[in-house]
């Protein structure tokens, strides 16, 4: 079992797997909508010039999320997949 981190801790280029959300209400639904559901595979693909937000590849689409919101996504590191 790998350690559980927040999505905002993930390095660029590092793949991870979603383990749950700690957001609630509208933001929770927004995160679920873009594909951040239990078990989903996510890679951080870059950051904006200000460092925040960062871009993540989720379900084949690249989506920008602020650190403040990414902190609510719990992920498992050390995942290996293509």
């Amino acid at each position: 079992m790998n350690e559980i981190w927040n999505l905002s801790d993930i390095e660029i280029g590092e793949p991870c797997r979603v383990r749950g959300l700690s957001a609630s209400g509208a933001m929770r639904r927004r995160l679920l909508d873009i594909g951040l559901v239990q078990g989903a595979e996510v890679v951080c693909v870059g950051r904006s010039p200000g460092g925040d937000p960062r871009a993540y590849r989720i379900c084949g689409a690249v989506i920008a999320i602020r650190a403040q919101d990414a902190r609510d996504v719990r992920v498992e590191r050390g995942v290996r997949w293509v």
Binding site: A26, Q38, G46, P49, A55
Partner: protein, 710 residues
């Protein structure tokens, strides 16, 4: 969403959704889909309409309808805003959900992006819960193929139980199967795939469904309704009750069934957020399962990430943005120079000819004057000064939009906007403001948080729209570069224009921060923005669309306002009261205020009369000077310069003019749009006063400082 007739014309006023069937047998088709999957392109290809398309999410902010006839009958297509799900949270998503649920379309076409089909299938599954009359349209097949993704349409159709067709929306031919498939699902409905939610929830659903028996639910399927009631979203409940025409929760049997079900669900750990998660996860899992069945992906394409490393990189992003902006302005300045001169030459020739004809016809002096010296001259100035820069700037801007660069601007600028307690998507609406502030204000609907949307609406007028660009270019060139055609002078003009634009952007940030610290206080809300893949732009379409839909339309609107304004000025100039013309009286009355701001009365009058459209400000000023008897003929940039110099313009006047042109009351169309979008007189008044106040303050300061030192 963008600068089209629909967005900025009188027709932009929301009239609710009145479906315009031509024949009672016409089928009403809702066009649904995730944002940025080419929905509007499908709509345009089928209806032949010019709904605005661009490669960034959230362009369709209101529903559009169009007509398609495939020989067998008519289809009324309704393009609704793109959404990721129907569990709506933003205003535009609510529009989409309400139309599918309560608009009673005969069928729904769900447009999907083949490259990220799994996420798109989420929406498909949600729509299938509402209606079985669905056709899935897997779009952008060519792009997916380039990225090594293949979709098995037959297997997908089999699993979903509804027709699935593959399309390349840019190729019209590939869409021919869509109308047929839509007609087929309306005539004969199969039972489609239904997401199963596990024993506990299924039992609860069945219990609530039983309580519905004998109730009039109109088109709403009991299963979907049961799920939504169990979720207990108060806003959706209100919509449902308005649609069904009865208070559902007034029925004790239903309330009892709901209570019992909720207790059972809570016992199984499915209450509140957990229940919603459970539902969303079940749908997502089903979508992933379908994806595994129908999608074959080879190696993912990394080209976009490579490009983004430059375009959004830590060191390169901002320099690249500035360079790109400078390039666009330089092309505009250089390209507009010659046609402007040709046009004014041609207009002068025609004016002289008209003068001769009018005299030969023996036209009364009054009519001759008002037609030629009033209306014709202002129209000529508007066209020759405004048309060339617009005709160049609009296609360049559309090109950036089409390629997919605009969302990157929002991504790059989110951090600074977040510092101002606003949303990065404001950068998108700001960019639209370069085209037209009214369109920018409508575009603010892409921002979810009402507070952040208001911030974006109120500060949109700080970026100069296309009506103000040419004016800025002319004044900058005349006073700070000198009229010339060399490379150096055009580069200098472009850089100065860039500086002015940046000043507008800084003012936007400042005003946003000011508002966020005073009347619109609050912490920045969340921000998620899709960065779509870069797409090859369609140059031909860009040219046609930007010239006809944007340039000519905006010019037409300006001309429509310019003609009466020309007539008014001529009348004012030629009606004498007490030995002086009315025009002199009016501009004389405004003169002290104008002088205080480093301007003069005539300039201020130009801004006042230019309220209906910013394009006519400079032409009116020139007309007014000319009517004062100083110079009779308007011409190219050099002649404009001599008119201005002869009337006492100094570099200080030019600086103040530029500042005031950047910051004064928004044009009437924008003000009306702000009122429509905010539905509040208070915010509309603020939207007028805020830029005016800042403009007056900065002009007064500059004028004061200049008077002290020179």
């Amino acid at each position: 969403m963008g600068l089209t007739r629909r967005a900025v014309g009188a027709g932009a006023l929301d009239t609710g959704l009145a479906l315009r069937r031509r024949d009672e047998n016409d089928l009403v088709i809702a066009l649904a889909g995730n944002p940025n999957v080419g929905k509007s392109t499908v709509f345009n290809a089928l209806t032949g309409m010019h709904q605005h398309t661009g490669n960034w999410p959230g362009k369709t902010v209101a529903t559009a309808q169009g007509y398609h006839n495939d020989g067998e009958g008519g289809l009324l297509l309704v393009d609704i805003p793109g959404t990721y799900s129907l569990l709506a949270h933003s205003a535009e998503e609510e529009v989409a959900r309400n139309f599918i649920c309560f608009g009673e379309p005969d069928a729904v076409a769900v447009v999907c992006d083949a490259a990220c089909l799994v996420r798109n299938l989420n929406l498909v599954l949600q729509v299938l819960e509402i209606t079985p009359r669905v056709v899935v349209c897997v779009n952008l097949l060519d792009e997916a193929k380039r990225r090594g993704i293949r979709v098995d349409l037959v297997a997908l159709s089999h699993a979903l139980g509804v027709p699935v067709i593959g399309t390349v929306a840019r190729k019209k031919k590939s869409l021919s199967a869509l109308p047929r498939a839509l007609r087929a699902v309306v005539e004969r409905t199969r039972k489609p795939l239904c997401v199963q939610y596990g024993t506990v929830l299924e039992t609860a659903i069945a219990r609530v469904c039983d309580a519905f028996s004998g109730k009039e639910l109109r088109r709403l399927p009991p299963r979907w309704l049961a799920l939504r009631l169990l979720e207990a979203d108060p806003r959706l409940l209100a919509e449902i009750e308005a649609y069904v025409g009865a208070e559902l929760l007034a029925d004790p049997a239903l309330v009892q069934a709901l209570d019992a079900s909720r207790t059972a669900l809570a016992a199984a750990g499915l209450a509140g957020d957990a229940l919603r998660d459970h539902i969303v996860c079940a749908i997502n899992e089903k979508a992933a399962e379908l994806g595994a069945l129908a999608v074959r992906a080879e190696s993912p394409d990394r080209g976009m990430e490579r490009a983004d490393r430059w375009l959004t990189g830590r060191r390169s992003a901002y320099p690249f943005m500035l360079l790109l902006l400078a390039l666009v302005f330089w092309l505009t300045v250089v390209g507009a120079n010659y046609p402007s001169q040709w046009l004014s030459y041609a207009f002068n020739m025609l004016g002289a000819r008209l003068d001769v004809w009018f005299s030969a016809l023996g036209m009364p002096a009054f009519l001759h004057g008002i037609l030629l010296d009033g209306i014709y001259r202002v129209l000529a100035a508007v066209v020759s000064v405004m048309l060339p820069p617009m005709a160049i700037f609009f296609p360049l801007f559309t090109f950036l939009e089409d390629v997919g660069y605009l969302p990157r601007i929002a991504y790059n600028l989110d951090r600074p906007f977040c510092r101002c307690h606003a949303c990065g998507k404001q950068a998108l609406t700001m960019c639209m403001g370069f085209g037209c502030n009214a369109a920018g204000v409508v575009g603010c609907r892409i921002i979810d948080s009402p507070r952040e949307r208001l911030l974006a609406i109120l500060t949109n007028a700080f970026v100069p729209c296309n009506g103000r660009f040419p004016t800025l270019i002319v004044v900058l060139t005349l006073f700070f570069v000198g009229v010339g055609t060399g490379l150096v002078s055009s580069l200098l003009a472009a850089l100065l224009l860039l500086a002015v634009i940046l000043l507008g952007v800084v003012a936007t940030f400042g005003a946003t921060r000011l508002l966020a610290a005073t009347v619109l206080r609050g912490a920045p809300s969340s921000f998620t923005l899709e960065l779509p893949p870069y797409r090859r732009p369609q140059v031909g379409k860009i040219l046609v669309r930007s010239v006809f839909d944007r340039t000519l339309f905006v010019l037409g609107r300006a001309a429509a306002v310019a003609a009466p304004a020309g007539a008014i000025i001529w009348l004012l100039a030629n009606t004498a009261v007490g030995g002086e013309s009315l025009l002199l009286h009016v501009s004389g009355a405004l003169d002290p205020i104008g002088r205080f701001l480093g301007l003069d009365g005539v300039i201020l009058l130009g801004f006042v009369l230019g309220f209906p459209a910013n394009e006519i400000v400079l032409p009116i000023i020139l007309m007014t000077y000319a009517a004062g008897g100083t110079l009779p003929v308007l011409g190219g940039t050099a002649e404009i310069g001599s008119v201005l110099l002869a009337n006492g313009w100094t570099p200080l006047t030019a600086v103040c003019f530029i500042l005031f042109s950047l910051m004064h009351w928004p044009c009437s169309t924008t003000v009306l749009t702000v009122h429509r979008e905010t539905r509040s007189l208070r915010w509309t008044v603020l939207a007028v006063f805020l830029p005016t106040l800042l403009g007056v303050l900065s002009c007064a300061c500059v004028a004061c400082v200049a008077r002290l030192f020179f």
